[in-house]
Amino acid sequence: MIPTDPERRAAFHAGQRAILQSLPGSAAWGLVSGVAMVKGGLAVPWAIMMSLLVYAGSAQLAALPLIAAGMPLWVIVATGLITNLRFVIYSAALRPYFAAEPLRKRAALGFFMTDFTFTLFMRSAQDGTLPERHRDAWFAGVCTNNWITWQVCAITGIVAASYVPTDWGLEFTGTLALVALVGPSLNARPALVGALVAGVVALLAHGLPYRLGLFVAAIAGIVAATLADSWSAPRAPQESGAAP
């Protein structure tokens, strides 16, 4: 998996370093989701299989009670699709950066993309810290570290479920890691407007099942930010940070 070409290898390692400080967030969420799998009634080997194959905490936790209740397959697949709708937005945002890559690589980068890795990629693209070349290798480095961390902690949580304290609020580390990722982006009015609208809509729509509220809030926020952008900077020059 680690590229052999020196330049690509450097980009891969730079990606690995870029996510290093956010890894405690992934670790906490992985651990807590592993524990929840087992407490939800899944036997250890199945929980490990689910963690490795699905690699999506919120979808796993949403589907678990349905699987336990013996719901038909289409219900489980539909639940997975709805819970994961935000990934369609992420995929659309990443598309221009990787459209020239071969199909297999795009499939792999998509499989390993998460809230953390996607946000880190986009932020780095916007603040200019993304390398000019070998962005696929850089993103692979980010995703590799995140995947290893998540899986090690999830499997630890699965195997040692009864020893992990569930009342310390460990999972809040994941929320704070997202705050650290998103905070520095809130330095301009459109982003602030988008965040404000997304936050309010997320609260109002929190009652919707399967994280639909999150999807609706994200769309509302993106629309609001774009409107704020076109009002605050009439005919500004084209974004230089945009995709190639």
């Binding site: 405690p24 009634g41 899944l42 036997a43 199945w46 299989m49 699905v54 979808a59 589907a63 699987i67 013996g70 489980i76 539909a78 997975g80 994961n84 990934f87 369609v88 937005i89 992420y90 995929s91 659309a92 945002a93 598309r95 221009p96 020239a100 795009r106 499939a107 998509g110 809230d115 996607f118 986009m122 932020r123 310390w168 609020g169 809040f172 580390t173 929320t175 704070l176 890691a177 997202l178 705050v179 650290a180 990722l181 998103v182 905070g183 520095p184 982006s185 988008g194 965040a195 609208v197 997304a198 936050g199 997320a202 609260l203 929190h206 994200a218 993106i222 930010a225 774009t226 974004e239």
Partner: protein
């Protein structure tokens, strides 16, 4: 699972869930050059990270307890996020942000 779903049925359910995750994550990436969106939409997507993450964070902070809203200034999660935000205002060090936020959150839970 008191009436354990196991064996083939469980394996199929897990693979189904894996496929539904894979399909959403790779949707536009796999479509590649064929799925070019209108320029306005594609530039709008640069706000996707800020908006989605905020939409994850805000309910995590205010509706954490039994899905009822807690807007009290003594909400430990709010105190944790504010501590983290203060840290971020003068440092980009994420580990420090996590440590300070978790400390403030834990202390608030213990003492408030």
């Amino acid at each position: 699972m008191s009436a354990p779903v196991a064996g083939i049925a469980l394996a199929v359910a897990i693979v189904g869930l894996a496929l539904s995750t894979f399909v959403t994550r790779t949707s536009f990436l796999l479509a590649g050059a064929r799925a070019r969106l209108n320029h306005r939409i594609e530039t709008a997507l640069r706000y996707a990270p800020v908006c989605t993450l905020t939409a994850i964070i805000v309910p995590d902070v205010f509706m954490h307890v039994h899905d009822t809203a807690d807007f009290s200034p003594l909400n430990p999660r709010l105190i944790g996020v504010l501590a983290s935000a203060l840290w971020l205002a003068w440092s980009r060090n994420i580990l420090g942000c996590l440590a300070l936020g978790m400390s403030a959150y834990s202390l608030a839970r213990l003492f408030l």
